[in-house]
Symmetry: C2
Subunit: 509 residues, 2 copies
Amino acid sequence: MAAFVLATLGTAQAATLDRGQLEQSADRAAAASYKEWVELLAIPNDATVPADIQKNVDWLVKAFARRGFQARALPNGDKPMVYAEYAAPGAPAAGRKTVLFYMHLDGQSVTPSQWAQKSPWDATLKARTADGKWEALPLDKLYAGPVDPEWRLFARSSSDDKGPIVMFLAAMDALKAAGVEPGVDIKVLLDSEEEKGSPSLGQVIGQNLALLRNDGMVILDGPMHQSNQPTLVFGNRGIQLVQLKVFGASQGLHSGHYGNYSANPVQRMASLLASMKDDNGRVTIPGYYTPVKIDARARQIMAAVPDDEAALKRRLGIASPEKVGANYQEAMQYPSLNVRGIAAGDVGPKARTIIPEVAVADIDLRTVPETPPETLVALLRKHIEKQGYHLVNGEPTAEERARYPKLASLTAGEVSASSSAARTDLDAPVSKWLQGVMQDTYGRAPVQIRMMGGTVPTGAAVQALKSPFVIVPLVNADNNQHSFDENMRLGNYRDGIRTLMGILQTPFR
Amino acid sequence: MAAFVLATLGTAQAATLDRGQLEQSADRAAAASYKEWVELLAIPNDATVPADIQKNVDWLVKAFARRGFQARALPNGDKPMVYAEYAAPGAPAAGRKTVLFYMHLDGQSVTPSQWAQKSPWDATLKARTADGKWEALPLDKLYAGPVDPEWRLFARSSSDDKGPIVMFLAAMDALKAAGVEPGVDIKVLLDSEEEKGSPSLGQVIGQNLALLRNDGMVILDGPMHQSNQPTLVFGNRGIQLVQLKVFGASQGLHSGHYGNYSANPVQRMASLLASMKDDNGRVTIPGYYTPVKIDARARQIMAAVPDDEAALKRRLGIASPEKVGANYQEAMQYPSLNVRGIAAGDVGPKARTIIPEVAVADIDLRTVPETPPETLVALLRKHIEKQGYHLVNGEPTAEERARYPKLASLTAGEVSASSSAARTDLDAPVSKWLQGVMQDTYGRAPVQIRMMGGTVPTGAAVQALKSPFVIVPLVNADNNQHSFDENMRLGNYRDGIRTLMGILQTPFR
């Protein structure tokens, strides 16, 4: 048995492309795929319009089927997802691993008038002029070639996340053209509601556990490292939303008649928020960071990330960052506490001279695997009570008002698996496999992100399927995803195909 | 000369009404005046509609002229004010004082649909039912009498401030009917924009300094003490608006990617606001309260005010007040710092997971005569800078962003004389005169408010005319002024006429 496995692997390895072949082959595959990319981008994909989602699903099922995948829609109300699988001819080879590739077919909502082109669905090729502006080129220049890697294709989902889907199809075509069989059995899941927070991903996976079973998941979503070097991301923070209200008098009061007498809830909210963080941005709620342990190896990995913090600070428009971690990467390894919105009374021309009756702060807590949401919410609750607050549910009653000098409420949002933190060990087999692919494909180690700060719905898959994941971002960091004028750099498109060919041709042991 | 003065005064005193006569006479005068009150209330008086203001002016000029006043409109753009004067027959008697009565003819804006009656201009008589609701009665019950002092007349400006104007006219009629000549020379100024902050009062006074010259001003506006006992108010706080902005990154940032790295301006605003006040509501900005000195006599006056703080706390829905003063009255003697509105990002369904780029707090500083607005703003500015902030004008530049870790702006609103604090000594001649009138009219000392917390435009008159003022509020405290269902209690209407008769018949020495 062991001998057979080795022989099989030996054969597969012999049939892979080397670094130079990969590059040339990816270039050709890119050129051959542009029309299909533009065609897919022309189908609107806001998940608030189920009919549009269905059109994307139909197109994608056919596109995968054309490549020899068994492809079909996975039921999910009126927004089905897409499932496709591709196995080596005949029965699965012993010792051969199955990899699940996750992408999403839906896109962010658009405001067409904001876009500097006919429509966000009308993919537009653009080149940057000498004075830094984007100028449209005829699409024929894309189709006829040769293309400049600095040109970009502008359209909703050009990067997020239809670009990677089409790159994936092109990589399959390129391997086939080169006579290379994939080194792994392939499963593909295309989410239809990722931009809405993947509310039903956990459920769809739960209903299809056997179908989706795998040895490792590759998430093809999100931007590469700012340096635009090949990137692997091994984890992401989760998110827990909470709303904090601090109550004042039972109604807004005349600030002249009651200023200095009836406590102002904004002032109290300010003191309460100020008690939660120090001047360096570190959370001071006891125990908030305690479970997070970062060892020397992790610190080394993070220090090796080529972040240009001077450029980052310039870009953000800040003189100095908070001091939660020694550097940007380290800061992302800790849970956060962020006031995403605050409101009381009015500001500007509508402001009235009142003591507002209530101050509302919407807060997001980014979680890490060591600090699950319920732990952080419990610590926050305890901290607020320790500041002298009586926490009520809903509005305080007259009796509570008469009894407690300080009244507040804390409401925690629902937590789904999609919003959980998740992290894969950098020495896990799937990690080693992809590190090797990147080294082989580009001749150097990739940028390795231990855990990114944002939240992607890896948790839903990890919790249901109990398999490890790695995120392999392929698109340029400055792609304007989630905003208008989303685009993909053509050099990234070509290199993405190359990366995917490398992944698909390499056995995962 | 001295002998002549004494003789004149002796004559005038002989012709005054005693306590019982005042009460009976005021009752009759009230009954005779209801139709005129309802007629005046029927003329809308929102100062945003100049044509309506003109109609009120025309009506009032005629009404004063009918009583023997020299009355006319005082030019003020398209919202003239009304001036009227009434002197003793012949040349002004030597030693006789001139008193300027200030009232206002304009009213707050209305939302008619909120009112529980046909229209806010259609005065409606109501009685309270056993279960505490207000039930309409036919107006004939008002005109035919006898009226219940607990009945109320509901209409915009019934209390604020047409009620006092009609009471004043009725008091003049009553004195005339009794053959009593006023004890002072009378000047009347009716503001047309009080509810809009009296923006041009200072200017109109400045253009008519000689005309308006007086020995003391009586401001007939605002509610009586909660106890509904005869009240004198000797001062009011002023107001200075400021807007504080704390800047974060140059745009809203993804809270996942930048939470723990780029400082949150709401968090910084919270720390900054928290540094300005302690948990007892006392301003901790050095020097903020320092110039305020309250002596033993003032403390005694304030302690004598029959405030029911237990009832007040119940009404406000708070368990305990701030500890700026030993009691409510004392708290009003200090300048305040009140966050009237705060905003950053969004709250509720529109909230997004961002680090907002800016936090905005609109603040009102109630001033007292010892702490003028420019002093408080300078202290505030110094305090903010001491917390490490660089204060910018407008938006920070890229250079300022790169240089200063903490950026904020502080914008002070314009200060007009109308928004200044003002206070008259309780031992000033005008104070003594009115204290005596109240004692004579009601047989006991009035409630004396050293300085009320709100702002009324006394400062404009005080600064221009250099004469002292006392506010004599006449209307029930629960009159819903500035809101819908404004009303006046008929008992207050009758007693207001009585108070004004007392004032008008009593020489001011």
